[in-house]
Point group: C2
Chain length 222, copies 2
DNA sequence: AGGTATTTTTAGGCAGGGCTAAAAACAATG
DNA sequence: CATTGTTTTTAGCCCTGCCTAAAAATACCT
């Protein structure tokens, strides 16, 4: 059984590993909000348990075993997030912290029960893919709303779960997964956008638009 | 925030405190499956945090603060047990272990959500009372089935959650909270009983009957 | 009361995880 | 290529909880 701490390390490595080949000690330390030295030590322990490949000064990568645990933890996290919304009346800005704790005390039986109660869902409330029980992750190929040009029509896929405030803000604007949207105007000097969504025109800062991911439907010239 | 360990200590002290005035170090150690010495040390720490009153060689009692945490933990445990049965398809012999872990990662918000989803329930699936949000525990005054005489008619209140096997056994016999039962026969030499329950006659060993608690309805002479 | 038994506490260790400060390795640049 | 700067690792500590073995209190019993 991996400890809570180990699950957290593996989860963060998994996330940081997207794109990059090897994850540096300092990047991981920043991501976990821990001192670099603490991370160095833990990496040695994880390597000894066969969960990561670690060469001093060369960063880490997950082994198959480590990846398995990381993905399983991510699956539990996202199943809980959806469960909290669907069955316990939570809103999507309040679920991250709860799931962060619940994911570490979820047995295989409970994971299965959650999955069944939810009908084997593919996405969590933020639009993040829920890994399958076998560990396959459905990498949705979507692009940042911030990159779209005026006239573009797109379907919202995902709102990055970086901050509860962003989520509350997006929600008030009608920016939720599955909603449709059209870019009406783009101010070049600050990158902010005016978009039509849920029947109304809304303004989004570039910073907000950077955290919203969409699938392009049509690229009308404005 | 109390640690998981502290919550477990307090919960066990609460349980052992029923009846007895002070709880001894060794009784607590046995209950927690820990070495006596470990318990002694922890008691000093809990006392320093104001959660228990502890005098060397004199045993422990809970302070108001400690009792509050113990009762809250018990409440969360029992809410989870019922939730697992009602909303996640668990049977009552599989819920204890899950709840044992979930109770320690349950925020006040989650506790409230569980309570609401269940309609502020009074009892868990074993018939154990669920403490109120304010910490009041509904002490149900029931007696052991083992003590009833032939001819007695009673309503089942509670089946002690001591072992999953006992629970599965009781369930197969139709012995569940709220069911009605009549004692038909009692074999004095081993204390075993023949009872009528759910329309059929069933045999119970004295050991099983000792873990079933009932409320007497009528004491017919057999 | 005095001596044996039992309980409880103290002493000394260990593993998991974390921290700061100092040293070592790697990178980068004049 | 040598020096400065940035990462990363090592060294030495801390805290939480647990353990065993030995010592000290309390209890029991003749």
């Amino acid at each position: 059984m991996p400890t809570i701490s180990a699950e957290d390390y593996l989860k963060h490595i998994l996330k940081l590993q997207e794109g990059e080949e090897r994850v540096s000690t300092s990047a991981l330390a920043t991501s976990l909000s821990l001192a670099d030295a603490s991370v160095t030590e833990m990496l040695k322990k994880l390597a000894a348990r066969g969960l990561v490949r670690y060469q001093p000064y060369q960063g880490v990568t997950l082994t198959e075993k480590g990846r398995g645990i990381a993905v399983r933890t991510l699956r539990r996290h996202r199943l809980w997030e959806l469960f909290l919304v669907r069955h316990l009346g939570y809103s999507w800005d309040q679920i991250h912290e709860e799931a962060e704790r619940l994911e570490h005390v979820t047995s295989e039986a409970l994971e299965t029960a959650l999955d069944r109660a939810l009908g084997s869902p593919q996405f969590d409330p933020h639009g993040d893919p829920i890994p399958s029980a076998e560990g396959r992750v459905h990498g949705g190929a979507s692009s940042a709303l911030a990159a779209l040009r005026p006239g573009a029509v797109a379907k919202i896929r995902r709102v990055a779960d970086v901050d509860p405030e962003l989520l509350r803000h997006a929600d008030r604007l009608g920016i939720v997964p599955e909603a449709s949207l059209e870019v009406r105007e783009r101010l070049d000097f600050d990158g902010s956008l005016r978009v039509r969504v849920a029947g109304g025109d809304r303004f989004l800062s570039a910073e907000v638009a950077r955290h919203i991911f969409v699938e392009l439907v049509e690229e009308r010239s404005g």
